[in-house]
Amino acid sequence: MSTRRERADSSVHGGGSSWVAWLSWLGVAIFAVYVAFMLAAPWLVNRGTLSLLYLVLYFVLLAASWNLMSGFTGYINFAHVAFIGVGMYASAIAIADLGAPWFLAVALGGCVAAAYAAVLSVPLLRIKGPYFTITTLAVAEGTRVIMSSAFMEPLTRAGSGIPLFVQIGFETKYFAMLALVVAVVVVTYVLANSRIGLRLLSIREDERAAENLGVNTTRLKIGAFVLSAFFAGLGGGLHAMYLSYIDPFNAFHIKYTVIPIIMTFFGGIGTVLGPVLGGTVLELFNDYIWAHVLRLNLATFGVVLVALILFMPQGLLEWLKDRGFLPKTRRI
């Protein structure tokens, strides 16, 4: 069947010499090894290192979920932390006040974040370019202010925060986080290799041209935004249990928007494995600088970001693709 040959052919660069076709599966193989290592890690490393790996997975999840919307459509969303934080709160309230089991609380975190994104998306996604980014920044700050206001106190306990006690062990949280990472990467992979994914990318490339080619850009953007928020909310909902105490300042801290963005930029925005690569490398790096330059860790991220924008704005993976070290495929 010719379609089958074409499919393999169509996603590789340079017209299908067979080793290039095989190379396009490299990303899948690397990710499989990555997951296998993470699965085995509880038996391989000590508890301290495992905590670090948990944080690596958490940031990979945040970066990859941010990438689902902003990486594909080019709409740079600075409100990601709003969805993470709302997911945290939904999950914490479900556990602390309603006594929900942990997995239901996590699912609720995802759903509430997705619903919040759906409501916001209608006005937000009419706004374009720099205005979109500025407005999402305002959304994130506004969400923090509202959640910490006395107005919301009956639900959120305002500034005093919510302590929560979850009876599940650390390793359960670790494996749950790993499962979420696998889920978001698989979703990204499927999307990147689908027609819908191409249409999302076409919005990033040239939204007006896409519209004139019959792409319903509004519907796609809303879908990507909600999906991105869903995974952010799941991640926040699960992470709330790791923290066992949440308050508005930490739940909505701007760094949970900024750091995943920098990680995605580092690995390659709009790629499948860019957020995994960036999240892993930079979180390990962060741990290192945390141990050495301690309180300057955000400034260090700032330096990384400035250097990236000046010298490698397309990120590591696209840089390698441009130089022919990796095939121009959406599989990686």
């Binding site: 379609t3 191409l198 990318l201 896409a210 519209e211 019959g214 121009k328």
Partner: protein, 248 residues
């Protein structure tokens, strides 16, 4: 023979602040025709294209496509109804391969890869189908844009200055391609173009706009003899064909 119009602008009016960019503009494009839309800079031609394709909303009047008023439809809805357009400056998706560029434009999955290859073959770009569109020359990007439109299977194609910035060899194949699409596939074209040789030599009908309105309509010869057109372009002294000889 008289064909039913596939496209009609009916008393279209659009103002930006105090400027009337398009003013009570009416004309029709018959099925299977290649119609040239000409006029001095600022006559409102591109604004009219924007209105036709849905990028700009009109203040009053109607855009009728295949007998249906589409004035209220969104750009993507118009595209799916079979109205395709290109832009004055090409708008390919630079960091997507040629094939991916083609795929975006197809509404369905039916014979997706075959059709994409077939159309790229028509514009001689099939060998480069796995390269990023940003690797193509400007003229080749124009060809890609045209091939990409075909994935929509449009009835009418609006071309905004297809010849601008294209070298003579590529322009020849572009024109041949347009004729082939019309003659064997029955496509209809409405073309904004400043190259008068191209307009006079290839268009069945020419519509002349000036200051937002249609001031003349007819065959190439009729337009060349029309006093009002001369005036709109150059005052009284010269004729647009004074520019002839530089183009195709």
């Amino acid at each position: 023979m008289m064909q039913a119009p596939v496209f009609e602008a009916r008393a279209v009016t659009k103002s930006f602040a105090s400027l009337r960019a398009v003013d009570d503009c009416s004309f029709a494009v018959e099925k299977g025709a290649i119609v040239g839309l000409i006029g001095p800079n600022g006559a409102g031609k591109t604004t009219l294209f924007d209105i036709a394709s849905g990028a700009t909303r009109l203040d009053s009047g109607q855009i009728v496509f295949r007998g249906e008023d589409i004035s209220a439809l969104k750009p993507h809805q118009r595209a799916l109804k079979g109205l395709g357009r290109t832009f004055q400056l090409t708008r390919v998706f630079p960091k997507m391969t040629l094939m991916e560029n083609m795929f975006v434009a197809s509404p369905g999955d039916h014979r997706l890869h075959e059709r994409a290859r077939e159309y790229l073959e028509l514009v001689n770009l099939v060998d480069r189908r796995h390269e990023y569109a940003s690797d193509l020359s400007y003229g080749q990007q124009k060809l890609l844009e045209l091939a990409r439109i075909l994935m929509l299977d449009p009835e009418l194609i609006l071309l905004d200055e297809p010849a601008a910035g294209v070298n003579p060899t590529l322009l020849k194949s572009l024109l041949a391609f347009i004729h082939e699409l019309r003659d064997t596939w029955g496509k209809t074209f409405l073309i904004i173009e400043h190259n008068m040789n191209l307009v006079m030599g290839h268009c069945d009908k020419v519509v002349v706009m000036s200051a937002g309105s249609v001031i003349a309509e007819g065959s190439g010869e009729e337009i060349q003899a029309n006093e009002e057109v001369l005036e709109a372009y150059f005052g009284k002294s010269t004729h647009p064909l004074g520019r002839a000889g530089h183009g195709a």
